[in-house]
Subunit: 263 residues, 2 copies
């Protein structure tokens, strides 16, 4: 079973387009939980257990773990081990380097952490992405048009009428196929999502930016036009309560997004 | 003392433009060294001790440590601790994410690993880079025109006659100043380096790609026109001998580059 099939199956089984982002930090842990990496792992395990029914995937942004150094990397691995095997796991690491170095990053994400997919940055071009595609049954999500304000600085620059983000999609789509390649498109750009779907109707998109970042889920789903998609929500689920009921509250929020997004 | 001054002073004191890249992997450790992360740390410490006299800086590519997970991160930190305090340390991590996430990456590189500088990817724009610049006395090296073949795929695309790599330099140079911002330009592009030096004559450049990757040091130094620069060599120094004399051999190679590059 390749990654496209694993993710598709998980969407079907959970009847959910939701991806829960485990962007956890010690400073934001609810009252009553130890303010250290062990507390962070406890929190993550509770969140995973409470939300698994409602989500197709989990996304772990490596920055939130790397800020605690090697202990953080250890907790990251243990969190991934706590995720049910049939859920899709995305290493949100935005990596990319020259060929032999990207190979080492692929070994980290796929062999050590056992993620199903990794997010990658396209700036360094073909040889920075291809080592990730040499893995059978793994997937990359390439940054195309990101959710943040800075996405306007370079991603929208136009070459002969084609914005960079569209050129990135057109060029990199030739490196692999829709079974091993997807793209990151922020929920803050529904109009551009329609254009993107004309270029790549069959690739999975990972869409962050719904919830705290303000993306409109309904507008995004309409623009997506029933193509393969998962929609990431992080803070609005995992920090929906700052109190002892954090896990129950996260489950309620995850179910809300499961229903809102449909399948 | 800010990072620009620390790096300038280190160049003066060592009479060297050399940066030694500690791109170490267990599979390539010389004969006689244990093939595990402890062996890797032993090797790094020996290389640092042998080469410190001849080099202004050390660059640690995070990928080579992350491939070993949390143990690798631990060895990375211990390697940095083994580098003399007056040498400049670059976390070659090529990070970049939305604002609050880049902040966590900055905490990892600067607070946990205690690096003096980090390499960052410009694709996500201003808010992905600015959190790194909020640190006093730290520096970022922004990817501009990288040394690898894939640098042609997007970095050279032209917007109204300006290649993306030049637009990246022009735009991002306004975020900070030459005391906290530098750029990565591969040694494989001497002609473009001349153009870049007309845009930013006073910023430090980090130039990888000399040695195994084939960049011509003399052509690069001529194009650089005496602007602030450090030139990274990794494999050609650290793996110059695969035998018990690896440290002495690395010292000889580092001294060769110190003399070749001048100051």
């Amino acid at each position: 079973m390749n990654s496209f099939e694993k993710l598709s199956n998980s969407v079907e089984r959970s009847k959910s387009l939701l991806c829960v982002g485990l962007d956890t930090s010690i400073a934001k842990l609810p009252a009553g939980i130890e303010k250290n990496v062990e507390g962070l792992l406890f929190f993550n395990r509770q969140i995973v257990e409470a939300t698994a029914e409602y989500t197709a995937a989990y996304k772990l942004n490596f920055a939130f773990y790397e800020q605690y150094g090697s202990d953080g990397f250890d907790i990251l691995k243990k969190t991934i081990e706590a995720i049910p095997q049939d859920k899709f796991v995305i290493a949100d690491a935005k990596r990319g380097d020259i060929g032999n170095t990207s190979k080492a990053y692929a070994e980290s994400a796929f062999d050590f952490f056992k993620a199903d997919a990794i997010t990658v940055s396209p700036y360094m071009g073909s040889d920075s992405l291809k080592p990730f595609l040499e893995y059978d049954n793994k997937m990359i999500f390439i940054l195309a048009l990101t959710s943040n304000p800075g996405s306007a600085d370079f991603q929208r620059l136009e070459y002969g009428g084609t914005p960079l983000y569209q050129q990135v999609i057109k060029t990199t789509a030739t490196y692999g196929n829709n079974q091993n390649t997807g793209y990151v498109v922020g929920a803050t750009h529904p109009a551009e999502l329609s254009l993107i779907r004309k270029i790549i109707p069959k690739h999975f998109l990972l869409i962050p930016g719904v919830g705290t970042q303000g993306g409109d889920a309904k507008a995004i789903l309409k623009a997506n036009n029933n193509s393969p998609v998962i929609i990431n929500v992080s803070r609005d689920i995992i920090y929906s309560s700052g109190s002892v009921d954090f896990a129950e509250s996260a489950a309620v929020r995850a179910e809300y997004y499961q229903k809102l997004l449909g399948k």
